[in-house]
Amino acid sequence: MTKIIFIEADGTTIEATAKPGMSVMQVAVNAGIAAIAAECGGACACGTCHCYIAEDWFDRLAPAKSDEADMIEFVVDPIPTSRLSCQIEVTPELDGLVIHLPSSQT
């Protein structure tokens, strides 16, 4: 099991366990995290599973493909470590990944 740490905008920390092959978005949804709206269900079609990767983790992720990069242009309050959580696949190497959540997706 891989552990993912989500930190809400108000500082609340939620640790969730993930199986390899899941997306980080699915992990958040299963953990009941409302800040990940993920309205299109993971098709890179809505931009509402936006999250901020902790700086020391950002370069350890496979880079965003063009569809995801295009969509990140449209999310609310993007920063250089913004990603769409539906496009990040959980692998054992991501054990301990720290993700900061935006206060709102809309």
């Binding site: 009941g32 269900g41 098709a43 931009g47 295009d70 997706q105």
Partner: protein
């Protein structure tokens, strides 16, 4: 269950489709509804899985020969409607893959949360003006006298249609979709075709104006895309028509059913009055509770497992969003209208690549409307129990007579 007990055209279904949906959801396997040659999916997990499955398409045209396509058109009865074929049956929603992704990307920017938020003052001003016009009425039809005017006007603004022409947009939009009426006759077809032609000709004039004098609107942006070779003129026209048609009737319907829900559940309405910051959750719940477009379809393009059994390529599935949004395995107290429900992972806007483009705009309309109504009026009362539209494809009251008391 047999076909005689699942009857979406019946009065009892219009009154309460959720009882019928619950019966289908309790079956071990998807239910085959012969009238539309489709396997009906009612469980949230099944509906979501098919919406997200990239091998499930809106049409099978790409697998058919030209002759087979013509046959299919004849069967669907729009073979003799050239404008309708060009601009209504062919569009972003009915396309897949590269064409779909290209067209969606070209217009997506105008429908992001940030871009849509810019329309708030426009929506507020229009809603205030409509309500001012009702100042001398203590009773009115919330649907016809109020809600029906809003979405066409606001979508018109986004597109770049001058305000004076927005009422005509509503007329065309309602005429074009008469093709999809239950019990459609030749007259409906004639009216739908004529309206499509008139709307097309109107849009060509608007295109020419924007080409000459670009503005900060969707039409000017699409003209830029057309001139740069990123979309054809037919694609521009069809995309514009789709944006109007997809957002017009459905928003009116959910405004009506949302208002009705507040009237049916006064404790929930009071919660929203006591805490107006609940409006986003309340609006989400309105979409879940009475999903205005409760039924879409997909075709399997390869043999696929759905809901525990295998289906052949070519199988047609009915995605009953209205049923999935009442699935108790997804939503606690699913039949309860709860304005504090969070998270509220409803699928009223569909899912996957065809996820509703206009979702933010529809929700902003509703946010402004219900917030303003609660500010202006001390109370609302239902004058008469409303009748809901029949059929699988839409959900909303024909009319909603309410009595209001001003502050």
């Amino acid at each position: 269950m047999n076909t005689t007990t699942f009857d979406p055209l019946s009065e009892s279904f219009a009154r309460d489709p959720y009882a019928a949906y619950a019966q289908l959801r309790d079956l071990a396997e998807p239910y085959f509804y012969a009238d539309v040659d489709s396997w009906m999916l009612t469980k949230a997990t099944d509906v979501e899985a098919v919406a997200l499955n990239k091998t499930m398409f809106r049409s099978l045209d790409h697998l058919l020969t030209e002759a087979e396509c013509k046959d299919a058109q004849r069967k669907m009865n729009w073979h003799d409607m050239p404008y309708h074929e060009r601009f209504v049956q062919t569009n972003l929603l009915e396309s897949e893959g590269e064409t779909h992704d290209r067209l969606r990307k070209l217009v997506f920017r105008e429908f992001t949360a940030a871009m849509v938020a810019r329309q708030r003052p426009t929506i507020q001003a229009f809603v205030d003006q409509l309500l001012d016009g009702l100042n001398d009425r203590d009773e009115f039809d919330f649907v016809e006298d109020f809600a029906a005017h809003v979405p066409g006007h606001i979508i018109g603004r986004v597109i770049g249609v001058p305000d004076a022409d927005c009422p005509q947009l509503r007329v065309w939009s309602e005429q074009v979709v008469r093709f999809f009426n239950i019990g459609r006759d030749d007259n409906d077809k004639r009216i739908a075709e004529q309206a499509t032609k008139e709307f097309y000709e109107y849009l060509l004039t608007l295109v020419a104006e924007r080409r000459k004098t670009p503005q900060a609107d969707l039409m000017s942006r699409m003209v830029e895309h057309q001139d740069a070779g990123r979309m054809t003129e037919d694609e521009l026209v069809a995309t514009t028509m789709l944006i109007l048609m997809a957002g017009h009737g459905s928003t009116i319907d959910v405004l009506g059913s949302g208002m009705h829900a507040l009237l049916r559940f006064p404790d929930q309405h009071q919660k929203l009055r006591d805490d107006p910051a609940l409006i986003n959750l309340a609006v989400q719940e309105m979409f879940r509770f009475e999903s205005p477009l409760p039924y879409f379809h997909r075709f399997a393009t390869e043999d696929t497992e759905v809901g525990g059994r295998m289906f052949k390529a070519g199988t047609r599935f009915g995605l009953l969003y209205g049923a999935a949004n009442r699935d108790p395995s997804r939503f606690e107290n699913a039949d309860q209208f709860d304005v504090t429900r969070s998270p509220n992972r409803h699928i009223a806007f569909g899912g996957g690549t065809h996820f509703c483009l206009g979702n933010h705009l529809a929700r902003l309309d509703m946010d402004v409307i219900f917030t303003t109504l609660n500010e202006r009026f001390a109370s609302f009362d239902l004058v008469k129990e409303p009748a809901y539209k029949p059929g699988l494809s839409v959900r909303g009251p024909f009319s909603l007579d309410i009595a209001v008391r001003r502050r």
